[in-house]
């Protein structure tokens, strides 16, 4: 079967849009982490700097899965691996 280039580019764009849906998960996860950190600061205000650095580290690690989705989207849009 032969597809023309524009059709493949359009499908790549749809695929890129679907790939960044991966951002939902890290968003929820980071929100939960920030909420718990806020609660922890409320309980123990003296440990604010420790809690903040732990929260940022955890959030940055949780962000990775979302970034993989972004990477797939960027590859589909700009590197165009599917276009012959």
């Amino acid at each position: 079967m032969e597809f023309n280039t524009n059709f493949i580019l359009g499908c790549s764009a749809i695929g890129a849009g679907l790939a960044v849906i991966a951002g939902i998960g890290p968003g929820v996860g980071q929100g939960i982490a920030a909420g718990h950190a806020a609660a922890a600061v409320g309980r123990n205000p003296g440990a604010k700097s420790d809690i903040t650095s732990t929260m940022l580290l955890g959030q940055a690690v949780a962000e990775t899965t979302g970034l993989y989705g972004l990477l797939v989207a960027i590859l589909l849009l700009f590197v165009k691996p599917l276009v012959p």
Partner: protein, 241 residues
């Protein structure tokens, strides 16, 4: 870019790596790209800073001046961070962690100087990831010996060994991809804003620069160094101590 982005009439969205010139090496075409140029500029900035810092410390005074104060602050901050995570192993890794911290931080915020951040090139971050990988495994074999490494691979059962090997190999890839994708996303968004809203992008993108270049760059530097330190400390720790 061409038909990649239809909205940008005339103005092209450009955040890709460009070749500057190429040469032949053993029949292969090797490109010198914008990344090399940017790494060179970042290196020159760090070297100039180091020369001045060296001179300031050589002529150190009892009551530190402004520049000496800044240098001492940086060294104390790095020492505190590394000592807090690595404990008694900190002495051996202060140089390496301090070096990559300063290099990655300068690279990340070089977007403010109008450069394309070198860390937005997978070649740079993957090299950093491989250095970390080699350090982890060198220290693993040094401290836990071959028997300890084999025992660690067969946790909890010997049948688990392939999965443990895969998770070991995934460490440098996930480390480097995290740094790369974060910086690339900042670069891409700033390029999109400047290209698509080129008439409206006045002054207010500065706030986005603060987030994408300064905040995100500093956080990712911290995360990269923190994870490197955690992995290395993990590799150094044996069951006896």
């Amino acid at each position: 870019m061409g038909q990649g982005i239809l909205l940008s009439e005339g103005t092209s969205v450009d955040f890709m790596i460009h070749g500057v010139f190429s040469y032949e090496l053993f029949g292969q075409t090797v490109w010198i790209t914008t990344t090399h140029v940017c790494v060179l500029i970042v290196m020159l900035i760090i070297m100039a800073f180091c020369l001045f810092a060296n001179r300031a410390i050589r002529h150190a005074t009892e009551v530190p001046g402004a520049f000496q104060n800044v240098v001492e602050l940086i060294v104390e901050m790095l020492d505190g961070m590394i000592g807090g995570v690595m404990g008694k192993y900190a002495v051996n890794f202060r140089n390496y962690i301090g070096t990559i911290f300063i290099f990655i931080l300068t690279s990340n915020i070089s977007g403010l100087l109008g450069l394309r951040p070198p860390t937005a090139d997978y070649g740079v971050t993957f090299a950093l990831g491989i250095i970390t990988f080699v350090l982890i495994h060198f220290n693993k074999f040094k401290h836990q010996k071959v028997s300890g490494v084999l025992k660690g691979l067969c946790e909890p059962w010997p049948i688990w060994a392939p999965i443990n090997i895969i998770s070991d190999l995934a460490v440098p890839i996930s480390l480097s991809l995290r740094l790369f994708a974060n910086i690339l996303s900042g670069t891409a968004i700033m390029a999109l804003i400047y290209a698509l809203l080129n008439k409206f992008a006045v002054i207010w993108p500065a706030a986005l620069h603060v987030y994408f270049d300064l905040f995100s760059g500093a956080i990712q530097t911290y995360v990269f160094c923190m994870l490197t330190m955690t992995y290395i400390t993990d590799a150094c720790t044996t069951e006896e101590n």
